[in-house]
């Protein structure tokens, strides 16, 4: 499979001080949906804007479908659909006028009606952009990217601030695009979005890739398979951590606001032993849940922080 997007040792320093991106490597195959996942300020937007050719890197190599930005910019723009993190399109133009305007910049765009229907905006075609809801505006932003019939779609936080239904609508649109052979690069700080949508993803923190792989792969590799979380009264203090660690099938232990979370391969082995251990210590179980590990657990495991806290 040919490489759609590649970058090597990408660095970006703002004003000679702030290092937003520090040595980032990515290789994204054609037809893939690839996610950049990370907290706010991790360098996701800087990275995607460098790949889009909107920002010059301080150093490093970028190649889009085998072409370099400074060599072939106008031609490359014909292949890329871009949705920035926040673009306020003109309020006083209608949805159709806006899509027609963007279509006019490309040599061979798609028909506006087709794009309107695909993004479920046909009903709103003659409404002013200023009158649209958040979800409709975001779909319009994606429509302006899809009207050029792109080979690669860049989406910077496409669903931030949207209600669950609008998010799902956008996910469907992205899947359809990918199913028709398109390549997608998106950034997000939503775990569920990354898990559902992306074939592969890179977790980014402080301008570097700290883990890369498919979501299930990352979860099994770094998050453990299951999580057992519990709360006990009068547990044995410092020594207790070691006691939990030595329970069968436990891979790691972490404490989060008094809640103890065990990374566990086989809960049916761990839980009976856990209950026994608590009883032996004379503690009282306040709370117990088990769940599948998620990307959030991967992130916490890697950075010691939650994704959404800033």
């Amino acid at each position: 499979m040919p490489t759609a997007i590649e970058c090597r040792d990408l660095r970006k320093t703002y004003d000679g001080k702030v290092e937003a991106v520090r040595g980032l490597n990515l290789e994204i195959q054609a037809g893939e949906c690839f996610g950049l996942l990370g907290p706010n300020g991790a360098g996701k937007t800087t990275t995607i804007e460098i790949l889009e050719g909107l920002l010059a890197p301080t150093s490093g190599m970028v190649s889009i479908l085998g072409h370099r930005w400074h060599e072939n910019e106008r031609e490359m723009r014909e292949w890329l659909g871009i949705s920035l993190q926040e673009t306020r399109l003109s309020d006083k133009l209608t949805v159709r006028e806006t899509i027609d305007l963007f279509a006019s910049f490309y040599r061979e765009p798609r028909s506006t009606d087709e794009v309107l229907e695909e993004l479920q905006l046909t009903e709103k075609a003659d409404a002013w952009v200023g009158k649209l809801s958040g979800g409709q505006r975001q779909r319009l932003a994606v429509a302006t990217a899809l009207v050029c019939n792109p080979k690669i779609l860049f989406l910077d936080e496409p669903t931030t601030g949207l209600d669950p239904q609008s998010r799902r609508q956008l996910w469907d649109i992205i899947r359809v695009f990918q199913r028709n052979g398109g390549t997608v690069l998106l950034t997000t700080h939503y775990m569920d979005e990354a898990e559902r949508l992306c074939d592969r993803l890179a977790i980014i923190d402080h301008g570097q890739v700290i883990a890369e792989g498919s979501p299930p792969d990352l979860i099994t590799r770094l998050g453990g398979h299951h999580l057992v979380e519990f709360l006990v009264d009068g547990n044995g203090g410092d020594g207790a951590q070691d006691a939990w660690r030595s329970l069968p099938s436990v891979e790691s232990v972490r404490e989060d606001d008094g809640l103890i979370a065990l990374n566990v391969k086989q809960p049916h082995l761990t839980i009976p032993a856990l209950l026994e251990a608590i009883e032996r210590q004379g503690g009282k179980l306040q709370h117990l849940t088990t769940r599948q590990a998620s990307l959030e657990d991967v992130f916490v495991r890697l950075t010691g922080r939650h994704l959404r806290e800033d």
Partner: protein
């Protein structure tokens, strides 16, 4: 024969729709159309660009019109009532608007500028004129009143004279004002229409989004400039038509010449506006900059009054301002019919300002 169809709506058409192809100027024409639609749908723009200058011209034209009668207002203090009788007997009686007041109210009315001169009783049947030498209309009123009183009382002028009044279109304040308003309006709408619009689009990240497409950047700027020229034709046409219809203004120069001057002026301020907007990230900062750039020209460039009132030593500086050049060129063309070729130094001043601004703006312009 009819066939019931129950296939889902989203079936693929049997033949794909014909491929859409864009020509070289598709981007430009869509950008221009979008810009014009946005302007048309923005009521504020319609007001400030088209209606406001008309209201300004109407207001100032009425306030400074050449007053026909009763223009000299005189207060007569009660003890000097014979002055009133004399004034009414005088041949110029129609000019005066006389009110009889007690000494204190007369003084008050004079102080507040409600009357131009006050006639107070002096000793032995003489009159005292209270007037202000710093107010031209007060000086004039004193002379007129004195003249009327003396001739009504029987003064014979040794030299016979005959006045002929002449206030022809072309020499009135409104004739001076309308070309000045035209120039100011072209400056305002050029600076705001280009400078403000660009920073607004930059702040909304729309410029960045456009740059993410194959849009030609030159086409984008060309579309902005074209929209200015289209608006310019409407602005100039409306204001001139208004002057002609309401104030019987006479337009001496050719339409083509005036349009050319206005077009160059419009593009000049478009260029200055582009330069002002080349780096600003926020509309607040560009608003300040635009006002800062326009301020000296409001004061010096002879919009509301002639810059001849400023000391002669700074006249060369004033004439080097683009708005001065535009106003002078418009006045010469509209009021005197000066041919366009004789105006080349003024046109050159504008072209230099516009051209240099444009080149610098392209060098510094930030699309993101």
């Amino acid at each position: 024969m009819s066939v019931a169809q129950e296939t889902p709506v989203r079936t693929q058409p049997a033949t794909p729709p014909p491929q859409r192809r864009n020509g070289r100027w598709a981007g430009y024409s869509h950008l221009l159309m979008a810009r014009m639609l946005e302007l048309k749908r923005e009521p504020e723009v319609v007001f400030w660009v088209f209606i406001f200058p008309l209201l300004l011209a109407l207001g100032l034209g009425i306030a400074f019109r050449n007053k026909p009668e009763g223009t000299v207002s005189v207060a007569v203090v009660q003890g000097a009532k014979s002055a009133q009788t004399l004034l009414q007997k005088s041949p110029q009686a129609k000019q005066f608007k006389v009110q009889v007041l007690d000494a204190e109210s007369a003084h008050q009315a004079f102080r507040l500028g409600k009357v131009d001169v006050a006639i107070e009783p002096g000793a032995n049947g003489t009159f005292t004129y209270r007037y202000d030498p710093a107010r031209p209309e007060s000086v004039l009123a004193r002379a007129e009143v004195n003249d009327a009183l003396q001739s009504a009382a029987g003064r014979k002028d040794p030299v016979p004279t005959k006045p002929v009044s002449s206030s022809e279109p072309g020499s009135r304040y409104i004739d001076f004002l309308i070309p000045g308003l035209l120039g100011m309006n072209l400056m305002n709408s050029g600076m705001w229409g280009i400078g403000f619009a660009l920073v607004d689009m930059r702040q909304r990240k729309l410029l960045k989004r456009f740059v993410g497409t194959p849009m030609r950047r030159g086409d984008f700027l060309l579309a902005l400039a074209s929209s200015r020229l289209i608006l310019m034709i409407i602005e100039v046409g409306l204001l001139l038509a208004f002057g002609v219809l309401f104030f019987h203004m006479r337009v001496m120069g050719s339409t083509a010449g005036i349009a050319l001057i206005a077009g160059i002026g419009s593009l000049t301020f478009g260029g200055v506006g582009l330069l002002t907007a080349s780096r600003a990230q926020k509309i607040e900062s560009v608003s300040g900059l635009i006002n800062l750039v326009m301020m000296p020209m409001w004061i010096f460039s002879g919009v509301f009054f002639s810059y001849e009132r400023f000391p002669a030593i700074i006249h060369p500086l004033i004439k080097a301002l683009p708005l001065t050049a535009l106003n002078d060129a418009l006045r010469a063309s509209i009021l005197e019919g000066t041919p366009i070729l004789h105006q080349w130094p003024r046109l050159l001043v504008m072209i230099l300002w516009g051209g240099i601004s444009f080149v610098l703006a392209l060098k510094w312009f930030r699309w993101t």
